[in-house]
Subunit: 240 residues, 2 copies
Amino acid sequence: MPRFFADENAVCGDIITVTGSDARHIGYSLRMKVGDMITFCREGMEYSCEISQMTADKVICQVIEVTPSDCEPTIILKLYQALPKGDKMELIIQKAAELGVGEIVPFVSSRCVSRPDEASAMKKLARWRKISLEAAKQSGRGKVPAVAPIVTFEEAIDGMSSDIKLICYENEGIRLSEAGIDGKKSVSVMIGSEGGFERAEVEKAKAKGITPIWLGKRILRCETCPIAVSAVIMNLSGNW
Amino acid sequence: MPRFFADENAVCGDIITVTGSDARHIGYSLRMKVGDMITFCREGMEYSCEISQMTADKVICQVIEVTPSDCEPTIILKLYQALPKGDKMELIIQKAAELGVGEIVPFVSSRCVSRPDEASAMKKLARWRKISLEAAKQSGRGKVPAVAPIVTFEEAIDGMSSDIKLICYENEGIRLSEAGIDGKKSVSVMIGSEGGFERAEVEKAKAKGITPIWLGKRILRCETCPIAVSAVIMNLSGNW
Protein backbone atom coordinates (compact mmCIF):
# COMPACT_ATOMS: atom_id res chain seq x y z
CA MET A 1 0.00 0.00 0.00
CA PRO A 2 1.43 3.46 -0.91
CA ARG A 3 2.77 5.40 2.10
CA PHE A 4 2.92 9.17 2.52
CA PHE A 5 3.74 11.53 5.36
CA ALA A 6 0.85 13.77 6.41
CA ASP A 7 1.47 17.42 7.29
CA GLU A 8 0.40 18.66 10.70
CA ASN A 9 -2.61 20.54 9.30
CA ALA A 10 -3.59 17.74 6.87
CA VAL A 11 -5.22 15.70 9.65
CA CYS A 12 -8.62 16.93 10.88
CA GLY A 13 -10.64 14.46 12.93
CA ASP A 14 -10.92 11.32 10.79
CA ILE A 15 -10.30 13.14 7.51
CA ILE A 16 -6.88 13.63 5.89
CA THR A 17 -6.65 16.20 3.10
CA VAL A 18 -3.70 16.07 0.74
CA THR A 19 -2.78 18.91 -1.63
CA GLY A 20 0.29 19.93 -3.67
CA SER A 21 2.83 17.51 -5.09
CA ASP A 22 1.65 14.53 -2.99
CA ALA A 23 -1.90 14.97 -4.35
CA ARG A 24 -0.61 15.06 -7.91
CA HIS A 25 1.61 12.05 -7.20
CA ILE A 26 -1.39 10.07 -5.88
CA GLY A 27 -3.64 11.03 -8.80
CA TYR A 28 -1.29 11.19 -11.78
CA SER A 29 1.76 9.03 -11.05
CA LEU A 30 0.13 6.28 -8.96
CA ARG A 31 -3.26 6.62 -10.78
CA MET A 32 -5.10 5.90 -7.55
CA LYS A 33 -8.91 6.19 -7.47
CA VAL A 34 -11.75 6.83 -5.02
CA GLY A 35 -12.11 3.70 -2.86
CA ASP A 36 -8.37 2.83 -2.99
CA MET A 37 -6.52 2.31 0.31
CA ILE A 38 -3.56 4.50 1.26
CA THR A 39 -1.38 4.91 4.38
CA PHE A 40 -0.32 8.19 5.94
CA CYS A 41 2.37 8.48 8.62
CA ARG A 42 2.59 11.24 11.16
CA GLU A 43 4.75 11.44 14.29
CA GLY A 44 5.13 7.70 14.62
CA MET A 45 1.44 6.87 13.96
CA GLU A 46 0.10 5.17 10.83
CA TYR A 47 -3.29 6.18 9.43
CA SER A 48 -4.86 3.55 7.13
CA CYS A 49 -7.27 5.45 4.90
CA GLU A 50 -9.68 5.07 2.01
CA ILE A 51 -9.66 7.75 -0.69
CA SER A 52 -13.14 9.31 -0.55
CA GLN A 53 -12.86 12.26 -2.96
CA MET A 54 -10.38 13.45 -5.57
CA THR A 55 -9.91 16.58 -7.69
CA ALA A 56 -6.93 17.60 -9.86
CA ASP A 57 -4.99 18.99 -6.90
CA LYS A 58 -6.71 17.66 -3.78
CA VAL A 59 -7.23 14.17 -2.34
CA ILE A 60 -9.59 13.66 0.62
CA CYS A 61 -9.20 10.45 2.61
CA GLN A 62 -11.32 8.80 5.30
CA VAL A 63 -9.26 7.43 8.21
CA ILE A 64 -10.20 3.75 8.82
CA GLU A 65 -7.62 2.80 11.45
CA VAL A 66 -4.83 4.48 13.44
CA THR A 67 -1.96 2.32 14.74
CA PRO A 68 1.53 3.08 16.08
CA SER A 69 4.13 2.71 13.33
CA ASP A 70 6.19 -0.45 13.84
CA CYS A 71 9.11 1.04 11.90
CA GLU A 72 10.09 3.53 14.60
CA PRO A 73 12.84 2.64 17.09
CA THR A 74 11.91 2.26 20.74
CA ILE A 75 14.53 4.85 21.70
CA ILE A 76 14.43 8.57 20.93
CA LEU A 77 17.89 9.47 19.70
CA LYS A 78 18.69 13.18 19.48
CA LEU A 79 21.77 13.93 17.44
CA TYR A 80 23.46 17.24 18.30
CA GLN A 81 25.80 17.84 15.37
CA ALA A 82 28.35 20.68 15.19
CA LEU A 83 28.29 22.23 11.72
CA PRO A 84 30.82 20.53 9.44
CA LYS A 85 32.40 22.15 6.39
CA GLY A 86 30.81 22.11 2.93
CA ASP A 87 27.71 19.97 2.41
CA LYS A 88 28.63 17.13 4.79
CA MET A 89 25.63 17.97 7.00
CA GLU A 90 23.40 16.77 4.15
CA LEU A 91 24.98 13.31 4.17
CA ILE A 92 24.77 13.22 7.99
CA ILE A 93 21.04 14.10 8.00
CA GLN A 94 20.23 11.59 5.28
CA LYS A 95 22.02 8.75 7.08
CA ALA A 96 20.65 9.78 10.50
CA ALA A 97 17.11 9.63 9.13
CA GLU A 98 17.70 6.17 7.64
CA LEU A 99 19.19 4.87 10.88
CA GLY A 100 16.22 5.97 13.01
CA VAL A 101 17.44 9.21 14.63
CA GLY A 102 14.50 11.12 16.15
CA GLU A 103 15.80 14.68 15.89
CA ILE A 104 18.87 16.48 14.60
CA VAL A 105 20.03 19.66 16.35
CA PRO A 106 22.76 21.49 14.40
CA PHE A 107 24.97 23.74 16.54
CA VAL A 108 28.03 25.95 16.27
CA SER A 109 31.05 25.20 18.48
CA SER A 110 34.46 26.94 18.83
CA ARG A 111 36.13 24.89 16.12
CA CYS A 112 33.37 25.16 13.50
CA VAL A 113 34.62 26.74 10.28
CA SER A 114 31.07 26.96 8.92
CA ARG A 115 29.21 29.88 10.57
CA PRO A 116 26.29 30.77 8.29
CA ASP A 117 24.54 34.15 8.63
CA GLU A 118 20.80 34.16 9.29
CA ALA A 119 19.70 34.14 5.64
CA SER A 120 22.06 31.32 4.76
CA ALA A 121 21.06 29.37 7.91
CA MET A 122 17.37 29.59 6.95
CA LYS A 123 18.17 28.31 3.45
CA LYS A 124 20.25 25.45 4.83
CA LEU A 125 17.54 24.51 7.32
CA ALA A 126 14.90 24.29 4.59
CA ARG A 127 17.21 22.08 2.53
CA TRP A 128 18.07 19.83 5.53
CA ARG A 129 14.38 19.37 6.34
CA LYS A 130 13.70 18.34 2.75
CA ILE A 131 16.56 15.80 2.93
CA SER A 132 15.20 14.43 6.21
CA LEU A 133 11.71 14.04 4.69
CA GLU A 134 13.03 12.29 1.57
CA ALA A 135 15.24 9.91 3.59
CA ALA A 136 12.34 9.16 5.97
CA LYS A 137 10.13 8.28 2.98
CA GLN A 138 12.77 6.09 1.31
CA SER A 139 13.66 4.20 4.46
CA GLY A 140 10.05 3.60 5.57
CA ARG A 141 10.17 5.67 8.76
CA GLY A 142 6.97 6.30 10.73
CA LYS A 143 7.97 9.92 11.39
CA VAL A 144 10.13 12.53 9.75
CA PRO A 145 13.12 13.35 11.98
CA ALA A 146 12.87 17.00 12.98
CA VAL A 147 15.78 19.24 12.10
CA ALA A 148 16.01 22.08 14.63
CA PRO A 149 17.28 25.57 13.80
CA ILE A 150 21.02 26.06 14.42
CA VAL A 151 21.83 26.84 18.08
CA THR A 152 25.01 27.82 19.96
CA PHE A 153 27.05 25.27 21.93
CA GLU A 154 25.69 26.74 25.17
CA GLU A 155 22.08 26.53 23.97
CA ALA A 156 22.72 22.93 22.91
CA ILE A 157 24.01 21.81 26.32
CA ASP A 158 21.35 23.81 28.18
CA GLY A 159 18.53 22.34 26.08
CA MET A 160 19.43 18.68 26.48
CA SER A 161 16.90 16.65 28.45
CA SER A 162 17.30 12.97 27.51
CA ASP A 163 17.74 10.06 29.96
CA ILE A 164 21.35 9.76 28.78
CA LYS A 165 23.45 12.70 27.59
CA LEU A 166 26.75 12.09 25.78
CA ILE A 167 29.50 14.05 24.05
CA CYS A 168 32.03 12.38 21.72
CA TYR A 169 35.57 13.41 22.64
CA GLU A 170 38.87 12.18 21.29
CA ASN A 171 40.89 12.64 24.47
CA GLU A 172 38.89 10.88 27.17
CA GLY A 173 35.65 9.15 27.99
CA ILE A 174 33.90 5.85 28.51
CA ARG A 175 32.95 3.50 25.66
CA LEU A 176 29.48 3.70 24.10
CA SER A 177 28.83 0.18 25.45
CA GLU A 178 29.42 1.45 28.99
CA ALA A 179 26.90 4.32 28.73
CA GLY A 180 23.94 2.20 29.93
CA ILE A 181 21.86 2.78 26.79
CA ASP A 182 19.89 -0.49 26.91
CA GLY A 183 16.42 0.00 28.35
CA LYS A 184 16.51 3.80 28.28
CA LYS A 185 13.84 5.85 26.51
CA SER A 186 15.99 8.68 25.15
CA VAL A 187 19.62 9.47 24.39
CA SER A 188 21.22 12.73 23.28
CA VAL A 189 24.66 12.66 21.73
CA MET A 190 26.86 15.64 20.76
CA ILE A 191 29.32 15.25 17.91
CA GLY A 192 31.96 17.79 16.90
CA SER A 193 32.87 19.29 13.55
CA GLU A 194 36.22 18.64 11.81
CA GLY A 195 38.35 19.86 14.71
CA GLY A 196 36.35 18.15 17.47
CA PHE A 197 35.75 19.99 20.75
CA GLU A 198 37.89 22.28 22.90
CA ARG A 199 38.64 20.88 26.34
CA ALA A 200 36.82 23.89 27.87
CA GLU A 201 33.68 22.91 25.95
CA VAL A 202 33.87 19.35 27.22
CA GLU A 203 34.25 20.67 30.78
CA LYS A 204 31.16 22.86 30.34
CA ALA A 205 29.24 19.85 29.02
CA LYS A 206 30.38 17.69 31.96
CA ALA A 207 29.15 20.40 34.36
CA LYS A 208 25.70 19.94 32.76
CA GLY A 209 25.73 16.17 33.34
CA ILE A 210 26.88 15.23 29.83
CA THR A 211 29.26 12.25 29.75
CA PRO A 212 32.28 12.13 27.41
CA ILE A 213 32.44 9.12 25.08
CA TRP A 214 35.76 7.99 23.60
CA LEU A 215 35.62 6.34 20.21
CA GLY A 216 39.00 4.62 20.16
CA LYS A 217 42.36 5.27 18.56
CA ARG A 218 41.33 5.39 14.92
CA ILE A 219 40.38 8.91 13.86
CA LEU A 220 36.99 9.05 12.16
CA ARG A 221 36.17 11.78 9.68
CA CYS A 222 33.63 14.25 10.95
CA GLU A 223 30.76 12.81 8.85
CA THR A 224 31.58 9.17 9.70
CA CYS A 225 31.24 9.67 13.44
CA PRO A 226 27.47 10.48 13.61
CA ILE A 227 26.63 7.62 11.21
CA ALA A 228 28.67 5.08 13.18
CA VAL A 229 27.47 6.35 16.59
CA SER A 230 23.80 6.29 15.50
CA ALA A 231 24.16 2.72 14.20
CA VAL A 232 25.81 1.54 17.44
CA ILE A 233 23.21 3.26 19.66
CA MET A 234 20.40 1.60 17.65
CA ASN A 235 22.16 -1.73 18.18
CA LEU A 236 22.80 -1.18 21.90
CA SER A 237 19.14 -0.21 22.42
CA GLY A 238 17.93 -3.40 20.69
CA ASN A 239 16.63 -1.57 17.62
CA TRP A 240 18.97 -3.14 15.11
CA MET B 1 56.31 11.59 15.00
CA PRO B 2 55.44 11.48 11.26
CA ARG B 3 53.83 8.19 10.18
CA PHE B 4 54.01 6.57 6.75
CA PHE B 5 52.97 3.23 5.28
CA ALA B 6 55.91 1.18 3.97
CA ASP B 7 55.53 -0.78 0.71
CA GLU B 8 56.15 -4.53 0.78
CA ASN B 9 59.53 -4.18 -0.94
CA ALA B 10 60.58 -1.11 1.06
CA VAL B 11 61.51 -3.22 4.10
CA CYS B 12 64.78 -5.18 3.83
CA GLY B 13 66.14 -6.54 7.12
CA ASP B 14 66.44 -3.54 9.43
CA ILE B 15 66.58 -0.99 6.61
CA ILE B 16 63.53 0.78 5.14
CA THR B 17 64.04 2.57 1.82
CA VAL B 18 61.53 5.19 0.75
CA THR B 19 61.32 6.58 -2.79
CA GLY B 20 58.75 8.54 -4.85
CA SER B 21 56.25 10.98 -3.41
CA ASP B 22 56.73 9.83 0.21
CA ALA B 23 60.49 10.54 -0.07
CA ARG B 24 59.81 14.01 -1.46
CA HIS B 25 57.19 14.59 1.25
CA ILE B 26 59.70 13.64 3.97
CA GLY B 27 62.52 15.80 2.52
CA TYR B 28 60.71 18.82 1.09
CA SER B 29 57.37 19.21 2.86
CA LEU B 30 58.31 17.97 6.33
CA ARG B 31 61.99 19.15 6.02
CA MET B 32 63.18 16.13 7.96
CA LYS B 33 66.94 15.51 8.30
CA VAL B 34 69.39 12.65 8.90
CA GLY B 35 69.03 11.58 12.55
CA ASP B 36 65.30 12.46 12.75
CA MET B 37 62.89 9.77 13.96
CA ILE B 38 60.07 8.53 11.73
CA THR B 39 57.47 5.72 12.00
CA PHE B 40 56.50 3.30 9.24
CA CYS B 41 53.46 1.03 9.39
CA ARG B 42 53.13 -2.23 7.53
CA GLU B 43 50.54 -4.97 8.01
CA GLY B 44 49.71 -4.01 11.57
CA MET B 45 53.34 -3.55 12.70
CA GLU B 46 54.98 -0.22 13.52
CA TYR B 47 58.64 0.36 12.67
CA SER B 48 60.26 3.18 14.67
CA CYS B 49 63.18 4.35 12.55
CA GLU B 50 65.99 6.89 12.39
CA ILE B 51 66.72 8.52 9.05
CA SER B 52 70.27 7.47 8.14
CA GLN B 53 70.71 8.78 4.59
CA MET B 54 68.83 11.17 2.29
CA THR B 55 69.05 12.19 -1.37
CA ALA B 56 66.58 14.25 -3.46
CA ASP B 57 64.36 11.24 -4.15
CA LYS B 58 65.37 8.55 -1.66
CA VAL B 59 65.28 8.28 2.13
CA ILE B 60 67.05 5.38 3.89
CA CYS B 61 66.00 4.61 7.46
CA GLN B 62 67.46 2.38 10.16
CA VAL B 63 64.83 0.36 12.05
CA ILE B 64 65.25 0.88 15.82
CA GLU B 65 62.19 -0.96 17.15
CA VAL B 66 59.32 -3.03 15.75
CA THR B 67 56.04 -3.18 17.73
CA PRO B 68 52.49 -4.26 16.90
CA SER B 69 50.35 -1.26 16.00
CA ASP B 70 47.91 -0.44 18.79
CA CYS B 71 45.51 1.22 16.34
CA GLU B 72 44.39 -2.02 14.70
CA PRO B 73 41.21 -3.75 15.91
CA THR B 74 41.50 -7.16 17.55
CA ILE B 75 39.06 -8.63 15.03
CA ILE B 76 39.70 -9.15 11.31
CA LEU B 77 36.58 -7.91 9.53
CA LYS B 78 36.26 -8.85 5.87
CA LEU B 79 33.62 -6.84 4.05
CA TYR B 80 32.19 -8.57 0.96
CA GLN B 81 30.42 -5.77 -0.88
CA ALA B 82 28.25 -6.26 -4.01
CA LEU B 83 29.02 -3.53 -6.55
CA PRO B 84 26.71 -0.55 -6.07
CA LYS B 85 25.81 1.94 -8.78
CA GLY B 86 27.93 5.01 -9.58
CA ASP B 87 30.80 5.86 -7.27
CA LYS B 88 29.21 4.69 -4.00
CA MET B 89 31.90 2.01 -3.63
CA GLU B 90 34.40 4.83 -3.05
CA LEU B 91 32.46 6.13 -0.03
CA ILE B 92 32.08 2.57 1.28
CA ILE B 93 35.82 1.85 1.02
CA GLN B 94 36.77 5.15 2.65
CA LYS B 95 34.43 4.60 5.60
CA ALA B 96 35.36 0.89 5.92
CA ALA B 97 39.03 1.84 6.18
CA GLU B 98 38.29 4.46 8.86
CA LEU B 99 36.19 2.02 10.87
CA GLY B 100 38.89 -0.68 10.96
CA VAL B 101 37.79 -3.13 8.25
CA GLY B 102 40.66 -5.53 7.40
CA GLU B 103 39.81 -6.33 3.78
CA ILE B 104 37.19 -5.35 1.22
CA VAL B 105 36.14 -7.93 -1.40
CA PRO B 106 33.96 -6.41 -4.15
CA PHE B 107 31.71 -8.92 -5.93
CA VAL B 108 28.99 -9.07 -8.57
CA SER B 109 25.58 -10.55 -7.63
CA SER B 110 22.38 -11.06 -9.67
CA ARG B 111 20.94 -7.67 -8.86
CA CYS B 112 24.08 -5.61 -9.50
CA VAL B 113 23.54 -3.00 -12.20
CA SER B 114 27.26 -2.18 -12.29
CA ARG B 115 29.14 -4.90 -14.22
CA PRO B 116 32.46 -3.37 -15.30
CA ASP B 117 34.50 -5.01 -18.09
CA GLU B 118 38.08 -6.05 -17.32
CA ALA B 119 39.73 -2.75 -18.27
CA SER B 120 37.22 -0.73 -16.26
CA ALA B 121 37.50 -3.13 -13.31
CA MET B 122 41.30 -2.71 -13.23
CA LYS B 123 40.92 1.07 -13.26
CA LYS B 124 38.34 0.96 -10.48
CA LEU B 125 40.51 -1.36 -8.38
CA ALA B 126 43.50 0.98 -8.65
CA ARG B 127 41.30 3.90 -7.55
CA TRP B 128 39.75 1.93 -4.65
CA ARG B 129 43.21 0.92 -3.40
CA LYS B 130 44.30 4.55 -3.45
CA ILE B 131 41.20 5.55 -1.46
CA SER B 132 41.88 2.77 1.06
CA LEU B 133 45.50 3.92 1.49
CA GLU B 134 44.50 7.58 1.95
CA ALA B 135 41.76 6.73 4.46
CA ALA B 136 44.16 4.43 6.36
CA LYS B 137 46.70 7.27 6.59
CA GLN B 138 44.12 9.85 7.70
CA SER B 139 42.55 7.63 10.33
CA GLY B 140 45.85 6.41 11.79
CA ARG B 141 45.47 2.72 10.85
CA GLY B 142 48.37 0.31 11.38
CA LYS B 143 47.68 -1.40 8.04
CA VAL B 144 46.10 -0.48 4.75
CA PRO B 145 42.88 -2.50 4.21
CA ALA B 146 43.41 -4.69 1.16
CA VAL B 147 40.92 -4.28 -1.68
CA ALA B 148 40.62 -7.57 -3.58
CA PRO B 149 39.89 -7.81 -7.32
CA ILE B 150 36.17 -8.15 -8.16
CA VAL B 151 34.90 -11.75 -7.86
CA THR B 152 31.59 -13.47 -8.67
CA PHE B 153 28.99 -14.24 -5.99
CA GLU B 154 29.99 -17.93 -6.12
CA GLU B 155 33.68 -17.14 -5.74
CA ALA B 156 32.82 -14.87 -2.80
CA ILE B 157 30.90 -17.54 -0.87
CA ASP B 158 33.45 -20.25 -1.75
CA GLY B 159 36.38 -18.10 -0.63
CA MET B 160 35.02 -17.15 2.80
CA SER B 161 37.00 -18.59 5.72
CA SER B 162 36.34 -16.45 8.80
CA ASP B 163 35.20 -17.73 12.23
CA ILE B 164 31.81 -16.12 11.59
CA LYS B 165 30.25 -15.76 8.14
CA LEU B 166 27.24 -13.48 7.62
CA ILE B 167 25.02 -12.21 4.80
CA CYS B 168 22.72 -9.20 5.25
CA TYR B 169 19.21 -10.00 4.03
CA GLU B 170 16.04 -7.94 4.24
CA ASN B 171 13.62 -10.86 4.49
CA GLU B 172 14.97 -13.03 7.30
CA GLY B 173 17.82 -13.58 9.68
CA ILE B 174 19.11 -13.16 13.21
CA ARG B 175 20.21 -9.82 14.66
CA LEU B 176 23.89 -8.82 14.52
CA SER B 177 23.93 -8.96 18.35
CA GLU B 178 22.95 -12.65 18.18
CA ALA B 179 25.77 -13.64 15.81
CA GLY B 180 28.26 -14.39 18.62
CA ILE B 181 30.85 -11.88 17.40
CA ASP B 182 32.39 -11.11 20.83
CA GLY B 183 35.64 -13.02 21.36
CA LYS B 184 35.97 -14.20 17.76
CA LYS B 185 39.10 -13.52 15.70
CA SER B 186 37.51 -12.96 12.30
CA VAL B 187 34.15 -12.10 10.75
CA SER B 188 33.13 -11.97 7.11
CA VAL B 189 29.98 -10.12 6.14
CA MET B 190 28.31 -9.97 2.69
CA ILE B 191 26.29 -6.90 1.79
CA GLY B 192 24.12 -6.49 -1.32
CA SER B 193 23.93 -3.75 -3.93
CA GLU B 194 20.83 -1.54 -4.39
CA GLY B 195 18.43 -4.43 -4.94
CA GLY B 196 19.77 -6.65 -2.16
CA PHE B 197 20.06 -10.40 -2.74
CA GLU B 198 17.86 -12.95 -4.56
CA ARG B 199 16.42 -15.62 -2.27
CA ALA B 200 18.31 -18.26 -4.32
CA GLU B 201 21.60 -16.50 -3.54
CA VAL B 202 20.83 -16.46 0.17
CA GLU B 203 20.03 -20.19 0.00
CA LYS B 204 23.38 -20.86 -1.71
CA ALA B 205 25.14 -18.82 0.97
CA LYS B 206 23.33 -20.73 3.75
CA ALA B 207 24.46 -24.01 2.19
CA LYS B 208 28.05 -22.77 2.63
CA GLY B 209 27.50 -22.04 6.34
CA ILE B 210 26.83 -18.32 5.93
CA THR B 211 24.16 -16.97 8.35
CA PRO B 212 21.56 -14.40 7.23
CA ILE B 213 21.42 -11.21 9.28
CA TRP B 214 18.28 -9.09 9.38
CA LEU B 215 18.75 -5.37 9.86
CA GLY B 216 15.27 -4.36 10.94
CA LYS B 217 12.30 -2.72 9.31
CA ARG B 218 13.87 0.52 8.19
CA ILE B 219 15.36 0.24 4.72
CA LEU B 220 18.97 1.40 4.57
CA ARG B 221 20.48 2.73 1.38
CA CYS B 222 23.02 0.44 -0.14
CA GLU B 223 26.01 2.56 0.99
CA THR B 224 24.67 3.08 4.53
CA CYS B 225 24.48 -0.64 5.31
CA PRO B 226 28.24 -1.48 5.18
CA ILE B 227 29.12 1.62 7.23
CA ALA B 228 26.53 0.84 9.91
CA VAL B 229 27.33 -2.90 9.99
CA SER B 230 31.10 -2.27 10.27
CA ALA B 231 30.55 0.18 13.14
CA VAL B 232 28.29 -2.27 15.01
CA ILE B 233 30.69 -5.21 14.51
CA MET B 234 33.56 -3.08 15.86
CA ASN B 235 31.39 -2.27 18.88
CA LEU B 236 30.25 -5.87 19.44
CA SER B 237 33.87 -7.09 19.27
CA GLY B 238 34.97 -4.56 21.89
CA ASN B 239 36.92 -2.43 19.41
CA TRP B 240 34.86 0.72 19.73
